[in-house]
Amino acid sequence: MSDMWTTKLRNKWQKNLPIEKLLPDDQPAYVASWIYVFGVLTLSALGVIIFSGIILAFEGPAWYHTSGAGKFVNSLHFWSVQLFFVFMVIHLWGKFWMAAWRGNRLATWVTGAVAFIASIATAFTGYLVQTNFDSQWISFEAKDGFNSVGVGAWFTVTNLGQMLLLHVAFLPLILGAITVVHVLMVRKRGVVPPIDAEPISLSEAKR
């Protein structure tokens, strides 16, 4: 049975990420700073973005221009995006100053940085599908940058249909997948120890 792919995958998962690691009820004593809150705040803001985005998707991109409820949901979407970036940037800076890539956590940093870039792309397409003056202006201005390096041949910022599909389907899927992988990696490796924390053997070697 052990040659089954399913069994192999399950065994690997259980070895690397048992439920106690995935959902622990304790943490190292050094996890005691407000900076640790910004990761979960970023995820919470992402949750509000997705929730408000789903409502906007059901009603269509022009709904909020004419409906009070639509305007409110659009505002939720707008402000949760602003908060999402504030939290994420603080989280990113925090992890930088903690050199949080130490101890085989390079991939955790890389997925986090890619998630940041994917978030910028997702938010950018969101600004393009507002169907208002701002999206007219941004699409006219932004096309030159993308065209200048050949990307505009396929990524057409003036094409509302393309931007809408990328914004509500493709990019959230990519961002969601990277975020899940990022969080699983954090849980698998645990929270990075303090920079100046020393292993006992190292302290002894110095004496």
Binding site: G47, A99, I117
Partner: protein, 326 residues
């Protein structure tokens, strides 16, 4: 790797064996979610969100009909921004380059736009026209390409010569061009051009490229952008209409447009190709962000500037750990 570094790496990588404390992830997550929801709802109720009405061709033609008229002539003469753009819309220019890399030109025309027909002739053809405009359209359609170009160029040049003052344009061999431009201006004033440009005679349409590009060829969109403080040269990329925060996360992208040589179009090769150079630069910097942990110098900054002493202050104090000398 030295023995000390190796030991430290193993220590950082291994599961934590030291002191632990209770930590309720679910409770933390729920509190964070409630906090963000309350904050979001509060901001939404207090501030709302930006929603400036989109510009229309009707608004342009009514508020600045001369500028619209002149732009229509430029579309016919092939001298507008769109007509002379290059890839991906046409082959009128080579576009921008980064040294020997002519990426814009190399990808070719993938979104073809014919400013004469797409912007002027086709939309006019969808309308029930007055006899003089219909006659002008018939004359245009029956003429040879060289003749059409000669008429439109002559009229465009004449307008340029009198600096856009239409009443001062002398009589000349302009053929049906003035009538076609007037016909399109009247069509726009009546509010019929927006939909005609989008549909191009079809039914379903979700691509606004032609409308947006035509808009950009005149002064209407540009003036509105300036009035809303959205121009690229004044950090417009990260601004939003009204008193709302925009895409502040694009600050670095926007930053390059504020400084030389990027902000000087006359400066070759970089300023003249600023869009391409800045895109490439941001691509490199984005890659740099991803690879910070392996970039010498940058990866050492957290050790040299000890902000971590503040982050882990409680732990360091409790353990009596002094700052390590690297």
């Amino acid at each position: 790797m030295s023995v000390n570094k190796e030991l430290k790496h193993e220590f950082d990588a291994a599961p934590w064996k030291g002191k632990t404390k209770r930590y309720d992830f679910i409770k933390e997550g729920v509190i964070a979610l409630v906090f963000v929801m309350v904050l979001t709802i509060g901001l939404s109720v207090l501030m709302g969100s930006p929603d400036e009405k989109p510009l229309t061709f009707k608004g342009w033609a009514v508020s600045n009909s001369d500028n619209f008229y002149v732009t229509a002539v430029q579309e016919l003469a092939g001298t507008s921004g769109t007509a002379t753009y290059g890839a991906p819309y046409n082959k009128a220019s080579d576009g921008l380059n980064i040294g020997p890399l002519w990426l814009q030109k190399w990808v070719g025309v993938t979104r073809p736009i014919d400013s004469v027909n797409d912007f002027v002739i086709n939309p006019l053809s969808t309308q029930v026209l007055s006899s003089d405009i219909a006659s002008a359209l018939a004359t245009w359609n029956a003429a040879a390409d060289a003749q059409k170009q000669a008429w439109a160029t002559a009229y465009d040049d004449a307008i340029t010569k009198v600096e856009g003052k239409l009443s001062s344009v002398p009589a000349g061999a302009y053929g049906p061009v003035p009538a076609l431009a007037k016909g399109l201006t009247d069509m726009a004033k009546a509010g019929a051009l927006d939909a005609a440009l989008l549909s191009q005679g079809g039914f379903f349409q979700t691509d606004n490229t032609k409308q947006i590009l035509f808009f950009g060829d005149g002064a209407y969109l540009d003036d509105a952008g300036t009035a809303a403080n959205l121009q690229g040269g004044t950090w417009g990329m990260m601004n939003e209409t009204g008193r709302y925060p925009g895409q502040a996360w694009l600050w670095l992208y926007s930053f390059w447009y504020q400084i030389p040589p990027f902000n000087n179009e006359e400066s070759k090769p970089i300023g003249a190709n600023a869009d391409a150079y800045i895109m490439a630069l941001m691509g490199v910097l984005s890659l740099g962000l991803i690879l910070i942990p392996v970039i010498p110098g940058v990866k050492s900054l957290p050790y040299k500037i000890p902000i971590h002493r503040g982050i882990w202050r409680q732990y360091y104090e409790a353990q009596g750990i002094k700052r390590r000398k690297k």
